[in-house]
């Protein structure tokens, strides 16, 4: 039994997938050259007023509903005051005492959940680049819409923290809230961790970890911190309340700020923004568009299609892929055959062509038609893969591709017999072995015929004809 219990809580910032910023109509893509996505509202010029983005609220409510949170009918925007060059106004607009969502939960294992304390809306800060010549400030990101999801300290290990983030990311992607790309910063995580003696109910002194840019990094940083705090406590020492930055390449964290220097943000309600009112009718209309969430879809894919767990995991990794699968089945394909093709050829094609699923010209209906040709043995498995690529490249139906490529399966013995004879003549040794009852060289003979037909020959018919032609034991 361990001497200490680990207690972890996470604060996750998620960038909402809006076209414009939270309070200004500047584009929210945050790409492009420095300071090209900046509106007068973002830099707090005198006389401007923030104007709240309706879609940001809708996506925030989606996030809340997707994790079972309680959307508050009235919430208040507050100013969080601090001086730092990433914040041109001198304050960040956030929510403090009255967040728009309370509660909710995220699964971390079968039948185990981490409760959420709250979710609030806030604007992002600008980007700073520290150089020897000074700090460069780019305000493209300043004002982008975020939600901050704050968990209860329910997580008991770094592994649970990783599971929380993985599941949260999946849910929010499914709900269409955000792409949740941690490497690109559209999902960011800070972690609070403390240790307490086993059996105790009093939490220990907590340390906040920052600079965690992937789920793996969150887990590594927490594992390191667990070891560091265990060593301090085991030696009879006390953990210092502080903020530590994770240095991934060194595999260690470094103190950034102690609690004595904790900032005093002097929050107060933003006088520029009346209360945010989210009506029950609005919440219900968003709920009705939310659709099925990952856990429910996984259960349904198992019961309706009888797919193996591995297939379900792949097909439910995002909403579009699962929709594509279901549309293929609805168009008449066998579920397992569709799943096999989607997990291999479809995903490979998306990578190779570098297109999103919606731009793949092999639509579900076309894939179903291709699979039908395959099951009717109109073409071989090898040929079907070529047809699949051609269907996307030339935007045509499977039968048209098959004919254009001349890939119809050849099963007529009359057409194959001359090729069989040629193979036997070309590989007399192999034929002799087969005649002695050794089956292995049969593959070489089959390969010869397949090459001659560019993969179009029906392998079963070829084998049959080879055996008849060679004869023997």
């Amino acid at each position: 039994m361990n001497t200490y219990v680990t207690v972890i809580g996470l604060e996750v910032h998620v960038q909402l997938g809006t076209a414009t910023k939270l309070f200004s109509p500047a584009p929210a893509d945050a790409l492009g050259d420095a300071n090209t996505r900046v509106h007068v509202i973002d830099i707090g010029l005198p006389g401007v007023l923030p104007r709240l983005n309706e879609t940001a609220i809708e996506l925030a409510v989606r996030a809340a509903l997707a994790v079972g949170g309680d959307v508050q009918p009235v919430s208040i925007f507050a100013r969080k005051n601090y001086f730092y060059p990433d914040l041109p106004k001198g304050y960040q607009i956030s929510q403090y005492e009255e967040p728009y969502c309370r509660g909710g939960r995220v699964a971390i294992a079968e039948d185990r959940f981490c409760q959420l304390e709250r979710i609030h809306l806030e604007e992002d800060a600008g980007k700073l680049v520290h150089t020897d010549a000074g700090t460069l400030v780019d305000l493209n990101r300043a004002g982008i819409a975020l939600v901050e999801i704050v968990s209860e300290p329910d997580l008991r290990s770094p592994t649970e923290a990783a599971a929380f983030l993985t599941n949260l990311r999946e849910i929010l992607r499914f709900a269409g809230v955000s792409d949740c790309d941690m490497e690109r910063g559209s999902m960011r995580c800070d972690a609070n961790i403390s240790l307490m003696p086993t059996g105790s109910e009093q939490f220990g002194t907590k340390v906040e970890l920052k600079n965690l840019n992937s789920v793996k990094m969150v887990q590594r940083a927490l594992e390191y911190e667990e070891r560091r705090q265990t060593a301090i406590l085991a030696a009879g020492g006390n953990v210092t309340a502080e903020t530590r930055g994770w240095l991934d390449e060194r595999g260690e964290s470094r103190s950034q700020r102690s609690k004595e220097n904790a900032p005093d943000y002097r929050y107060f309600p933003d006088p520029d923004l009346p209360p945010l009112v989210i009506s029950e009718a609005w919440v219900e209309s968003i709920r009705s568009q939310l659709g099925e969430l990952p856990a429910a879809r996984r259960a349904r894919f198992a019961s309706s299609y009888g797919l193996p767990e591995y297939d379900i995991g792949v097909l439910t990794q995002d909403r579009e892929l699962g929709d594509y699968f279901e549309a293929t089945v609805a168009a008449g394909s066998d579920a397992k055959a569709a799943s096999n093709w989607i997990m291999t050829d479809v995903l490979a094609a998306l990578r190779e062509f570098g297109v999103p699923l919606e731009d793949l010209r092999v639509t579900p209906a076309r894939l179903a038609a291709l699979l039908e040709l395959l099951s009717a043995k109109a073409l071989t498995a090898v040929a079907a893969k070529k047809v699949f690529v051609d269907m996307h490249e030339n935007d045509r139906e499977p039968r048209a591709s098959m004919q254009a490529l001349g890939l119809e399966r050849i099963a007529a013995p009359a057409m194959l017999q001359p090729l069989i004879d040629a193979a036997v003549a070309a590989l007399p040794g192999a034929a002799a072995d087969v005649r002695q009852g050794i089956d292995k060289p049969l593959d070489a003979l089959k390969g010869h015929v397949m090459r001659a037909t560019k993969g179009r020959a029906d392998p079963h018919v070829v084998e049959q004809l080879l055996r008849t032609t060679i004869g023997g034991a």
């Binding site: 076209a19 300071n35 000074g134």
Partner: protein, 100 residues
């Protein structure tokens, strides 16, 4: 909450948080003014409201208006940086800051 006392230490802390330089000869005058402001709030608090649970903000006030999520042209970098004390290419330059 009417017991918020503003003393010299608190005044200096607020000045530091607001990044204000406060000359020593003005401290006494400002302290007096701040104390007056805070006691005005104490007077407001003393008013008996019919239902103290009802929040003052939003009572009858219109909710915050919402804007459609449609992009409008951004300022050009030259406009954004028009008041920058120093710039390098299209970025503001400020004295080097690193998390303390």
């Amino acid at each position: 909450m009417s017991d918020i006392a503003i003393d010299r230490t608190e005044l200096q802390r607020l000045a530091e948080l607001a990044r204000l330089h406060l000359p020593a000869d003005r401290e006494a005058a400002l302290l007096g003014q701040l104390q007056d402001i805070v006691s005005a709030f104490a007077a407001i608090r003393a008013i008996e409201l019919p239902d103290p649970a009802e929040p003052a903000a939003g009572a009858g006030a219109a909710p915050t208006p919402l804007r459609p999520d449609e992009p409008e042209p951004a300022l050009g970098p030259d406009q954004v940086l028009a008041n920058a004390p120093q710039r390098a290419a299209d970025s503001f330059v400020v004295p080097r800051v690193v998390d303390a």
